[in-house]
């Protein structure tokens, strides 16, 4: 186990390093000189040259990369060419928002998927079970942003029950914070919940066919009892994998939902950065997103190993 952990950690670090190179290389290809962009159309050539020196973009790519990567290790993402403020804290703030958004969405998805998926599996021959799987199919087919728009329409514009968008920091007002996040959580969670429902259903269905469930029933447990005691933990193993994959997609789905709900998260920062050619910022955000996905994969793999004694 420890060996596995170390090995997996090594892979994580190596992948992150390679990802950093990839991200940097990709950004280097981006047309547009940060200095020119910062100064806009009316800049003088001297000013541009001066700014280049200031930004350090007149150095060789290797030097720039080493500088950037070196900073990353210390949590320093550099200083934005455009806003001339340090990038790290900005990303930190935004990441916190996005993380709350994603995790909340995941919780909603789980709250939907686990009971419904299990129910649909146990009753897979009953009309209600079939109806649930049909509903989950329809849920999957709805784009997240459409779900968001519809939710806003119903709950904010028509019912005037919740804000249509915007984000209130927790520190400012916990109640408003919650209200501002409810709809985004729902729109992320509903769609992902539908996807997850299907996986939970098929995992539970698979487990229900396992011999050890029959053994449990032969011991005197009822169908449901056997499923609870022996089935769900086993079913959770494939679901955890999917959960990991989904967290990654959620992270990206959040970009869209942030746009719909005007939430200042990482996605918003990324799109702004791209639009404003704030290269260093984009580079940082992409790096953080990629690292987050790699980290999620790592956690899932480790969780997988913890859950399953056969892998220990």
């Amino acid at each position: 186990m420890i060996l596995y952990l170390l090995k997996r950690l090594g892979v994580l670090i190596a992948s992150t390093a390679v990802a950093a190179v990839a991200v940097f290389a990709f950004m280097a290809v981006l047309p547009g000189d940060p200095a020119e962009v910062a100064l806009g159309v009316n800049a003088t050539p001297e000013a541009v040259a001066e700014l280049r020196r200031q930004f350090g973009t007149d150095r060789s790519p290797l030097a720039q990369f080493l500088d950037w990567a070196g900073g990353l290790i210390q949590g320093d993402f550099g200083t934005s060419y455009v806003t001339s403020s340090p990038i790290g804290p900005q990303i930190g703030d935004r990441l916190a928002v996005t993380a709350v958004l994603v995790l909340g969405g995941m919780v909603v998805a789980l709250l939907i998927a686990v009971p419904l998926g299990t129910f649909a599996a146990v009753h897979h021959r009953d009309p209600l079970g079939v109806a649930i799987s049909a509903a989950s199919q329809v849920g999957i087919a709805i784009p997240a942003f459409l779900a968001g728009i519809l939710l806003v329409f119903v709950f904010a514009v028509q019912a005037q029950a919740l804000p249509s968008g915007g984000y209130v920091p927790l520190a400012e007002s916990p109640g408003e914070w919650l209200r501002s996040l409810l709809l985004p959580w729902l729109s992320l969670g509903l769609v992902q919940g539908a996807v997850l429902t299907r996986y939970v259903r098929s995992a539970v269905l698979d487990v229900m066919r396992e011999d050890y469930l029959r053994t449990a029933r032969a011991k005197g447990r009822g169908r449901t009892g056997a499923l609870w005691r022996h089935g769900l933990r086993n079913a959770s193993i494939p679901v955890v994998t999917v959960l990991g994959l989904q967290l990654a997609t959620l992270l990206i789905g959040a970009v869209v939902v942030e746009r719909v709900f005007v939430i200042p998260g990482l996605g918003d920062l990324l799109l702004n950065g791209v639009a404003g050619r704030d290269l260093l910022l984009v580079q940082g955000v992409v790096m953080v997103l990629v690292a987050a996905v790699l980290l999620i994969n790592f956690v899932v793999d480790v969780a997988y190993h913890l859950l399953d004694p056969r892998l220990r």
């Binding site: 053994t215 449990a216 032969a218 011991k219 005197g220 447990r221 169908r223 933990r233 399953d308 056969r310």
Partner: protein
């Protein structure tokens, strides 16, 4: 103690087991033999109320004063693991891979009212009783850390935990090596109360059971004491099976039964064996009754 009458198992319109009747007295060890697909497992599972989805049983089966067939799950749930236990064929998949072995043994006792602490210590005794070395260590192991034979012993320990009146074993040794099989069979013969033992290996039945039921195509085609059935088989299928099971010396041709076992629903009407039987005549198009006291058989042209 167990009385089965007219047990029929269907999947949709296909009859997989038809009109099976037999009885097991307390302490009696009965073998159920037949080739793959003859309906042995389904017969056993219908007694346990564990038939797979989409498969239904009809007829009567009583264990003591409890009905086993056609009653709701909630009524027989309490019997399983206490009055009636079962050991399955596949030792590799029958145990929960995520749970320690000791807990799985203890579970069957706590389920039927034994206190947690007591169940735990009795689990160790049970593991010892099925002759597992170092029961303490085994109890703390996960199933994948045990060999097939060890796992099958654990299954036996689970089955015996509440001292049931009847033990059903569905090919418990098929997946094991001969040496391991021998130990296991000895163990079963020693600890089992009344026993319904399923196998396709005639020699195994002969070493464990007193009475035997021969199944083919979902029907019991012959039944009687092991000695009588195996020395003087009357049904042509039993005869063929016995002949094919004896390996003749090298250089000689092995006796065979022509053709092969048809898939479910592919058996002929009338006598299910008639399309493979060398003695079949048009008379076989009507199904023969299982007749005879003690040694019964269902054949129009029995061997003598």
């Amino acid at each position: 103690m167990l009385r089965v009458e007219g047990l029929t198992v269907r999947a949709g319109s296909v009859e997989l087991v038809r009109d099976v009747s037999f009885a097991i007295a307390p302490g009696e060890r009965v073998g159920l033999i037949g080739e793959s697909g003859s309906g042995k497992s389904l017969t056993a599972l219908s007694l346990m109320g564990l038939l797979p989805e989409g498969v239904t049983a009809a007829g009567r089966a009583r264990l003591g004063e409890h009905d086993l067939v056609g009653v709701p799950e909630s009524r027989i749930k309490g019997l399983r693991g206490r009055e009636l236990s079962m050991v399955f064929q596949e030792p590799m998949t029958a145990l929960n891979p995520l749970m320690r072995v000791g807990a799985q043994v203890a579970e069957v006792m706590t389920l039927h009212g034994v206190a947690r602490q007591e169940a735990r210590s009795r689990a160790l005794d049970l593991l010892e009783r099925v002759r597992l070395p170092e029961p303490g260590q085994i109890a703390g192991a996960y199933p994948h850390q045990l060999s097939g034979g060890q796992r099958q012993r654990v299954m036996l320990a689970i089955a015996l935990a509440n001292e049931p009146g009847l033990l059903v074993c569905d090919e418990p040794t098929t997946a094991l090596d001969v040496t391991v099989q021998k130990q296991m069979l000895e163990l079963i013969a020693e600890v089992a109360p009344a026993l319904l033992f399923i196998t396709h290996d005639l020699a195994v039945v002969a070493s464990v059971c007193e009475r035997v039921l021969v199944m083919y195509g979902g029907r019991v085609v012959e039944s009687g004491t092991v000695r009588e059935v195996f020395t003087r088989p009357r049904h042509r299928y039993t005869e063929g099976l016995l002949a094919a099971s004896r390996l003749t010396p090298r250089g000689t041709r092995l006796p065979t039964i022509k053709g092969s076992v048809p898939p479910a629903g592919g058996f002929p009407g009338g006598c299910v064996f008639r399309n493979r039987c060398p003695h079949a005549t048009p008379a076989c198009e009507t199904a023969p009754e299982l007749t005879g006291d003690g040694h019964a058989y269902a054949c129009w042209h029995p061997a003598d």
